[in-house]
């Protein structure tokens, strides 16, 4: 029998359905709440994350790391139980946990709104109006949590195999439908689906171990497993964790091999504000993923009018990824007071930074105030940069002035630093393949083909002309001049077409 995963915003609905189904399948039913409680006991501050989502506060770097650890903990826990036999697991959006495993049925349950409302009125002893407000607010919080934890819209049916609406269907009928589905051949365990689950389990265990250990707890790591081979990738800025990774993972059982690799280089993205939904962000991420590089963000603020108000020219953000407190038991959840991190400049970086951590491409961030010289100063001398991208700067200026100043900044930096410097709007042209590049490739290829066809069909007259057999000195000089002009043109066309083909094939 498969593993059945039930997702719903209403805890009671999913619990009752899971229990009913588990009885039919003669297997245990496990809730998100049980697993999350174990995660809390293991030192993952789940409540802190939940409250950050409730208050819609900007997710911070440390929270993103905790999230990665929580997801790993839950995945490992579900896989471990599923390895022992059939299971029904239920949670808010747990369908995202075992995405690639074939013997998992992902069910979305839409609760009966009236039943839910009546239950809230009864349990919380509140008026209908208050109960409606509570449900609306809670559903909105859960949607925000699902977006924070999994980056998807919880209600999107396309992520599920089956959606059941309990408004018109009894719990018993719904359970019977899922049970019927669980008997279907397409959801039974296979060697391939078991292998996929084992890989997910192994990667999750590795990520959990690394997050739990003081030596690697503050690292932003991307952990994957393929056929028992665990690969841990870290960004160049986090080279200090390299030695500890294999040591920490030495206790991981079931791994055939452990490979720890550093992303080869960093892309420096200079901008005033960083929007994870912007075109530039998508393009930079695309290039970084293709190159195996990290993305370092430099928030460049305009020079301050009053020097007294200036932060230091290069103000590295406070290190938030400090190791997780040794024992919450000793403090009972009350930490020592310390200097509050002055992170007001940090808020515009937070969204993009969290997304980069989520994608395993975060290469560090810093804030500076000034112009070109400050960018040069901000470059880490021990870091190899593959590219510098100048994003949105000079936001307070007119668009035309902004474009001019951005180009001037790119020109200034190109003359002073080694890595190539480009502006965000030219990223697509230079490194990615889109419609425009396709048109250009067609044009270049057509020109190359025309030249080749003309050359091949007119070999005799061309040889005579370039061999200087048809005339005197004038014709020889002319032949040399034509040759000098034609060769670079052909090389340009041919080189351009080849470069675009390679870019298209993502082979650079």
């Amino acid at each position: 029998m498969p593993i059945v995963i039930i997702s719903s915003p209403d805890e009671e609905t999913r619990r009752l359905l899971a229990q009913n189904l588990a009885r039919k399948m003669a297997c245990p039913s496990v809730s998100r709440e049980e697993v999350v409680e174990q995660a809390t006991e293991a030192g993952i501050p789940v409540a802190k994350m939940e409250m950050a989502v409730l208050k819609r506060s900007t997710p911070r770097e440390r929270l993103a790391r905790h999230k990665a650890r929580l997801m790993a903990f839950i995945t490992a826990s579900v896989c471990q139980r599923a390895s022992q036999g059939d299971m029904v697991y239920h949670g808010r959006a747990c369908h995202m946990l075992l995405k690639r495993v074939g013997h998992v049925i992902r069910v979305q349950v839409v609760p009966d709104p009236e039943v839910r409302l009546q239950r809230v009125i009864r349990d919380m002893k509140v008026t209908r109006e208050k109960a409606e407000g509570y449900i609306k607010a809670l559903d909105s919080d859960i949607a925000a949590w699902v977006s924070f934890a999994h980056g998807v819209e919880a209600s999107n049916s396309s992520h599920y195999d089956l959606t059941i609406n309990l408004e018109h269907m009894s719990l018993e009928s719904a359970s019977a439908v899922i049970y019927q589905m669980a008997l279907m051949p397409e959801f039974q365990r296979t060697i391939a689906s078991d292998r996929a689950m084992n890989d997910l389990w192994l990667a999750a265990q590795a990520r959990d171990l690394l997050g739990r250990d003081e030596r690697t707890g503050a690292a932003d790591l991307n952990v994957t497993a393929t056929e028992g081979r665990v690969t841990v990738t870290y960004m160049p800025s986090q080279g200090k964790f390299a030695e500890a990774i294999p040591v920490v993972l030495a206790s991981l059982s079931g791994a055939r091999e452990i490979v720890s690799t550093m992303a080869s280089s960093n892309i420096l993205w200079v901008a005033e504000a960083f929007d994870p939904r912007s075109q530039t962000f998508t393009e930079i991420l695309d290039v970084a993923q293709r190159w195996g590089a990290g993305v370092e963000m430099l928030r460049l603020l305009p020079p301050a009018a009053d020097p007294a108000q200036c932060p230091p020219a290069q103000a590295s953000l406070p290190e938030e990824g400090a190791p997780i407190p040794k024992s919450q038991d000793q403090t009972c959840g009350i930490e020592d007071d310390s200097e509050a991190p002055a992170a007001s400049l940090d808020t515009d970086l937070a969204g993009a930074r969290e997304e980069l951590i989520h994608r395993g491409r975060f290469g560090g961030s810093q804030v500076a105030r000034g112009l070109g010289p400050e960018v040069v100063q901000a470059l880490n001398p021990n870091q190899e940069y593959a590219l510098v991208v100048i994003g949105d700067l000079f936001q307070s200026k007119e668009p035309s002035v902004r474009t001019r100043l951005t180009r001037e900044m790119a020109g200034y930096l190109s003359e002073r630093i080694k890595p190539p410097v480009i502006t965000g709007d030219t990223l697509q042209d230079k490194f990615l393949f889109g419609k425009r590049q396709m048109g250009r490739l067609g044009l270049l290829l057509a020109s190359v083909v025309v030249i080749y066809v003309l050359t091949m069909t007119n070999q005799e007259p061309l040889l005579r002309f370039f061999g200087g057999h048809d005339g005197g000195t004038f014709m020889r000089v002319l032949a040399v001049l034509v040759l000098a002009m034609v060769v670079p043109a052909v090389a340009y066309l041919y080189g351009g077409a080849t470069g675009l083909i390679l870019k298209w094939l993502k082979f650079e």
């Binding site: 809390t40 802190k48 509570y134 009972c332």
Partner: protein, 129 residues
């Protein structure tokens, strides 16, 4: 400030009171700490507190019940809920029942001081963290 802010701290884990009590005293609050919810409620019957800081998960009585009882007796009291196991469901329930704010453990005393300052302001009292 003419009068001290009266704060009751309730957590079945004695360390919490021991750590939070002095931190709030430093900012000029008059604090009383309890580990037993029943005793805390008895005290609340005798005197009115400006702020009650209570854990959610306790053996005899949970924090939501304490919240209900406090607000039933003294609607002006600000109740701050603290918990290491707070979920969205519990938090929303606490807010729907009139909790002033929620703090998830682990937190620093400074975080609580900030909430206490806001609570004092909403009571029309001046206090600085």
């Amino acid at each position: 400030m003419t009068e001290q802010l009266k704060v009751l701290i309730l957590d079945d884990e004695p360390t919490v009171g021991k750590r939070l009590g002095p931190a709030l005293c430093k900012m000029g609050c008059q604090t009383e700490t309890f580990v037993d919810p029943t005793e805390a409620l008895q005290r609340l019957e005798q005197t009115e507190f400006d702020v009650v800081v209570t854990d959610i998960r306790m053996e005899k009585l949970d924090g939501i019940q304490v919240l209900e009882r406090v607000l039933a007796k003294s609607p002006r009291t600000k109740v701050v809920v603290i918990s290491g196991y707070a979920t969205l469901e519990v938090a929303r329930q606490a807010l729907a029942k009139g909790a002033f704010d929620l703090l998830a453990k682990p937190f620093k005393p400074a975080d609580l001081r900030e909430v206490i300052v806001r609570a004092a302001q909403s009571l029309g009292l001046a206090l600085t963290a």
